[in-house]
């Protein structure tokens, strides 16, 4: 049965008619649809290029405007105050670098154990408490970081009469890092095959020993990723520090003295530089900060990618 056997002899086949109609419509609209498709896929590609360009542009700006400020003095001198007659008295940002090390170091010392232990709990427990902790951690990671600065100010300075210090900055950053480390280390712990744990337990080792001697080393690279990620986030934080670290212009390792940090130095340089040179100088600090943060972030990504490949 086919058309050429004589369409006149048979009653018109509604299916053949519809097929003809649909195919002609499809053919008619094909050019337009194909063009729209190509066009829109092109737009997607352009969108991707545009989004990538932003990062390239920012890095370019930082290098172009900041690179010439970076010298030995940049790392080894404290900031100087330009005077009317000596406007190029700028010094370095040794105080801010040291402050960042102190503040982030304190945050790391507290956040790593708390985050990893809590992450371990989330990995091995499936109860109401663990779920509540997990939700809390998620909400905490989504809160504006300045809130932690305000909290530490209200709690430590107003209530417990502490004073501005690098230590308080460290506490504020801890609250940013712990949920991040917790969530990421939970994933690392979960990725450790159950058989490894069971093997340890079946040897008669206690859970604690299995957790510290077997599971944690197995998860260690993942935990490192988590810590790197959290640190890269904390190092760039400005807002929570504004409330609690005070300010200083002389580098100190003391956690109990007022401190300054690289992002704060950038913020102050841009908004509170009396001389335009101080503003320009902030580009150097910004370049340094972005370099540090991007290296950490890239490092954690590369490590994570490497781990994924190992696993498969």
């Amino acid at each position: 049965m086919s058309v050429t056997t004589g369409i006149g002899e048979l009653p018109a086949d509604p299916i053949l008619e519809r097929r003809a109609l649909i195919q002609s419509i499809a053919r008619g609209s094909l050019a337009r649809r194909a063009v729209v498709s190509r066009l829109m896929l092109g737009v997607c590609g352009l969108a991707f290029l545009a989004a990538s360009t932003v990062l390239v542009w920012i890095v370019y700006l930082l290098v172009a405007k900041g690179f010439h400020w970076i010298s030995i003095n940049f790392f080894t001198q404290d900031p100087l105050t330009p005077t009317v007659f000596q406007q190029n008295l700028l010094g370095g940002i040794r105080n801010a670098i040291r402050g960042s090390i102190v503040i982030d170091g304190i945050a790391l010392v507290i956040a790593i154990p708390v985050g990893i232990v809590a992450g371990h709990l989330l990995a091995v427990s499936e109860n109401v408490f663990a779920n509540a902790v997990r939700s809390t951690a998620e909400v905490m990671t989504g809160l504006p970081s300045i809130l932690f600065g305000i909290f530490v100010y209200e709690f430590m300075i107003i209530r417990f009469h502490s004073h501005f210090s690098g230590f308080l900055g460290g506490l504020a950053l801890t609250m940013i890092m712990v949920p991040v480390i917790m969530k990421a280390s939970e994933i690392s712990f979960r990725a450790v095959p159950a058989s490894i744990r069971e093997a340890g337990l079946s040897l008669g080792l206690s859970k604690g020993v299995v957790a510290t001697r077997i599971v944690t080393p197995a998860a260690a690279p993942g935990l490192l990723t988590a810590v790197l990620l959290a640190t890269s986030r904390a190092v760039g934080e400005t807002a929570p520090l504004i409330w609690v670290i005070g300010n200083n212009y002389v580098a100190t390792w003391s956690p109990y003295k007022q401190q300054t940090a690289i992002p704060i130095a950038i913020y102050n340089g841009i908004l509170n530089g009396a001389s335009p040179l101080q503003q320009a100088y902030a580009w150097g600090s910004a370049l340094f900060l972005v370099a540090v943060v991007l290296c950490m972030n890239l490092g954690s990504r590369l490590l994570a990618a490497f781990l994924r490949r190992e696993r498969h």
Binding site: R33, L41, I58, T136, A137, L294, L298
Partner: protein
């Protein structure tokens, strides 16, 4: 020798092992310590989070007592006169976030589509990282670029162009300066873009191949497949991505504080200065009086309510999207 289930939950109720007593006793004690440390440490986190909330809420009491609901509905913010009306701040927060999302959602979703459907699979992760690295750039750097580079450029070129092309249409009317609500929105747009890209990309990548082939085999073009099938299927995940991005935009502090102009009045034009809840927390703190600090505590509480709610909604959506995909 008993292994015991690894995922048992409560401390102190570990099943009895059958090991000889000599071994069993230290092991039991050791397990107790294990759970003790686990729960103890986690409990500290919980206690700190609870303290966080309680502290901020109680710190805001005197401001609520002083201004009442006027804190939310009042239009004048003048700490010197003890007037704490946060409406301009709330409006500024919503408007800047809205601008950011209006720009970032279409672009971010298109970028995500490109990452999943144009970029070869092997290059997807590195190329995604390239966009996501934007999220790692500290906000003070975005603020600095916005303040030092974009702001003067906007005043010289962008705003005049905008006013001449829109004939100073409502939101683009009035005298303009460098920093503005629009600039803050644009800086936020760049800052939330990676969030939208990353989560949308996951949502799009999770759409089953069968859906795509189903559409292709019906004669759909690639774009039709994406637009009519893939994106609708990824809808929940993309909504989650947008919601998380909104949470980030609503709470961004430093970058906004640097580019929004810190103008404490209800804005009449996007080209004028404004302020947001979060940025006020950064700028109003210098020399704040006791009552002002309490009022800032109240702003913090409002901000927690907004961002935690939005963030929770976003996470729930993402969770639902992922469950839907595994069904």
């Amino acid at each position: 020798m008993s292994t015991g289930p690894i995922t048992e939950s409560a401390p102190g109720v570990a099943p009895e092992g059958r090991a000889p007593g000599r071994v069993k006793r230290p092991r039991a004690r050791s397990d107790g310590a294990y759970w003790g440390i686990l729960y103890g440490t986690t409990l500290i986190f919980v206690v700190v989070c609870a303290t966080f909330l309680v502290t901020l809420v109680t710190s805001s009491f005197s401001a609520w007592g002083h201004s009442g609901l006027g804190l939310i509905t009042g239009t004048t913010w003048n700490p010197d006169k003890q007037l704490y009306g946060a409406l301009p701040l709330i409006i500024g927060t919503l408007v800047t976030s809205a601008i950011a999302l209006v720009l970032a959602v279409p672009l971010g979703v298109l970028v995500a589509v490109a990452l999943v459907h144009l970029v070869p699979r092997r290059l997807r992760t590195p190329m995604s990282s390239f966009v996501e690295l934007l999220a790692a750039v500290p906000s003070v750097v975005f603020g600095g670029v916005g303040f030092l580079v974009l702001a003067p450029y906007f005043q010289q070129h962008f705003y005049p162009w905008l006013q001449s092309t829109t004939h100073s249409f409502g939101p683009f009317s009035g005298t303009f300066s460098t920093t503005s609500i629009l600039l803050a929105g644009i800086v936020l747009f760049v800052m939330v873009l990676p969030t939208i890209v990353a989560f949308s990309r996951d949502a799009i990548a999770i759409v089953p191949e069968e859906q795509i082939e189903g559409a292709m085999s019906l004669g759909a073009t690639r774009w039709q497949t994406l637009w009519k099938v893939v994106l609708p299927s990824a809808r929940t995940g993309i909504t989650g991505a947008v919601t998380l991005a909104a949470a980030r935009a609503l709470g961004e502090t430093i970058a906004v504080a640097m580019v929004i102009g810190n103008y404490f009045k209800v804005p009449h034009s996007l080209l004028q200065g404004g302020t947001t809840l979060a940025s006020a927390l950064a700028t109003q703190w210098d020399g704040a009086t006791t009552l002002t600090i309490s009022a800032l505590g109240a702003l913090a509480v409002i901000l927690i309510a907004i961002t935690a709610g939005v963030n929770y909604a976003g996470r729930s959506l993402l969770r639902r999207a992922n469950q839907g995909a595994t069904l």
